[in-house]
Amino acid sequence: MRANDQGLSVNSGAVAKRPEDVKDGSGSVFSRRTKGDIAFDVVNTIIMVLFTVIMLYPLINTVAMSFNDGIDALRGGITFLPRVFTLKNYQTVLAKEGMMTGAKISVLRTVIGTVTSTLCTALLAYVLSRKNFIFKKQLSMLYVVTMYVNGGLIPVFLLYKSLGMTNSFWVYIIPGMVSAWNMLVLRTYMNGIPESLSESAELDGAGHFTIFFRIILPLSMPVIACVSLFTAVGQWNSWFDAMLYNRMSDNLTTLQYELMKLLSSVTNNNANAETMKEANNMVTPRTMRAAATVVTALPIVCLYPFLQRYFVAGMTIGGVKE
């Protein structure tokens, strides 16, 4: 950053012709660039390249590690590619107790949690987007307040416990069934759908459920897509609920929680690392953890390029709402 400032301050007095507009990019504009512009671009490019390396290197290195022989990796020097290729890390990780259950539960909670949360939240948004609804104000207040005030960890913990939601799959689903924040985003969007559409359907004798499922929901698809994607990522990535409520139930573990156990067994206990090395002579905690990380991150990284525009659109909708 400092280099950038200095490079520019030298030239800041120079007369810059119209800088290239972001949109017209290349070619003709180059002739009009001053030294200051060029210096700026050089420094900016260096920063961007550095930034990209810092963002990507740890991820690529993890992938390389996950395919590398464990003992060989101890020698160091693994950077972008594995040196001694092996699938042993993945075999060990996938054979590990809990990993398969975790994967199954993670998929289940992501699918069920996303569908129920999106549907319920959209239905609430629909109710609150009806212009004349008599309790509109009260019901939305009830939800908006929850965005600022909550009982905190312990009262919530005791509530779930008394409702029998500990050691149960439902603790992954029920608490997130309605999200106040998503409701606001959805409602803003639904408010923008012309009222005449619902009205004419009503004249044709359609009830609220028909209007919701046949008209409002299909028309809200872009924003529904965003909301459900965010919910899905949140479900896939959460681990704290598994640790807090379901740690006694091995059959309800999640992939993230399994990865966390792997992480803490490695960091807290070096003796453990030694025993593992001997027991399994090509896999070390580090390479095994790399493999588990790749498995856990895989769904998101694979889907990410396709879904990115929805995520960004959602962020901007939320931002406008602010």
Partner: protein, 306 residues
């Protein structure tokens, strides 16, 4: 028209909507409002077998114990400092990144860098802290390798074992994960700045840096203010996952945050009352922070949330 008639009419027209809203109201009450009654615990010596109704009231005893506890006072400091570092560096880096990205000369490169920069936001903290452990490792950790290779340090450092590095490690992890994502909103704000302003500045002979300083940054000011207000209320909330996952016995004095304290003393040690008291303290401070930030923004003539 009599009120009863009016109600009948509403009921006739909106029966389905009213019936639909009942489960939603119940859901909010049970899962968001019932826990608030749990706050009573903070003023009791809560025993699970006696429940809320029969536990003995002890007044403010739990709060006095809390504020007499050196460990808790440290957690307040830790939560606050890490939250603040996160807020300040997070905001500055996101703005800088948005501006630099906006000025980047290649449209394709811009898209690529943007895509890469968002990715870590979607990875869980478990994965990100795992990566942290690898990067900071004593043996074959890339940070130590690079620093030793450049002769900046003589021997590898065990970064996570020294309290003096911990807050910076947390801050950098947050930056790595969120800078790209946080910049989205600033990028959107930059594109909505009137291009005529840049045009006029160019005619007046302004350089690139002075255009950033005199046009882009002032154009971003309302966005920055709103996000700051929103995030100040969250300062105390920014202290759980990463500290919990990266922390260890050696750096406990600087890594424990209020949320970790609640988890440790409230749930693991079973002192629900003490944990709840700590939670209440956090909630009240958070709400006060939002109110102060909002009031400050209003007083300064900026936009405010309420």
């Amino acid at each position: 028209m009599k009120p009863t008639n009016a109600f009948k009419k509403v009921w006739k027209n909106q029966k389905v909507l009213i019936l639909m809203s009942i489960p939603f109201a119940l859901y909010a009450i049970i899962f968001s409002y019932v826990p608030l009654f749990g706050w009573v615990m903070a003023f009791q010596n809560y025993k699970p077998k006696d429940g809320l109704l029969h536990s003995k009231f002890v007044g403010l005893q739990k709060f006095t114990r809390l504020f007499g506890d050196d460990v808790f006072l440290k957690t307040i400091r830790n939560t606050f400092c890490m939250g603040l570092m996160n807020l300040v560096f997070g905001t500055v880096c996101a703005i800088l990144f948005a501006i630099l990205l906006n000025e980047f000369w290649s449209v394709k490169g811009k898209k690529a860098v943007q895509t890469i920069s968002y990715l870590p936001h979607f990875l869980s903290w478990i994965i990100v802290t795992g990566i942290c452990f690898d990067v900071l490792a004593m043996e074959n950790g890339v940070l130590n390798d690079v620093l030793v290779g450049l002769h900046i340090i003589k021997a590898p450092i065990n970064w996570l074992a020294h309290p003096k590095y911990f807050w910076w490690i947390v801050t950098f992890s947050n930056l790595w994960k969120e800078t790209g994502w946080n910049s989205i909103i600033y990028l959107a704000a930059i594109t909505s700045i009137n291009p005529d302003l840049y045009e006029a500045a160019s005619i007046d002979g302004a350089g690139r840096l002075s255009k950033i300083w005199h046009i882009t940054l002032p154009g971003l000011k309302p966005t920055i203010m709103i996000l700051l207000i929103m995030n100040i209320g969250n300062v105390l909330n920014a202290g759980f996952e990463v500290q919990y996952l990266l922390g260890n016995g050696l750096v406990q004095s600087v890594s424990q945050t209020i949320d970790i304290y609640v988890l440790k003393f409230g749930i693991s040690n079973g002192d629900y009352s003490l944990g709840t008291a700590a939670g209440i303290f956090k909630s009240i401070v958070s709400i006060a922070l939002i109110a102060i930030a909002n009031w400050g923004a209003k007083a300064a003539g900026e936009e405010s949330l309420f």
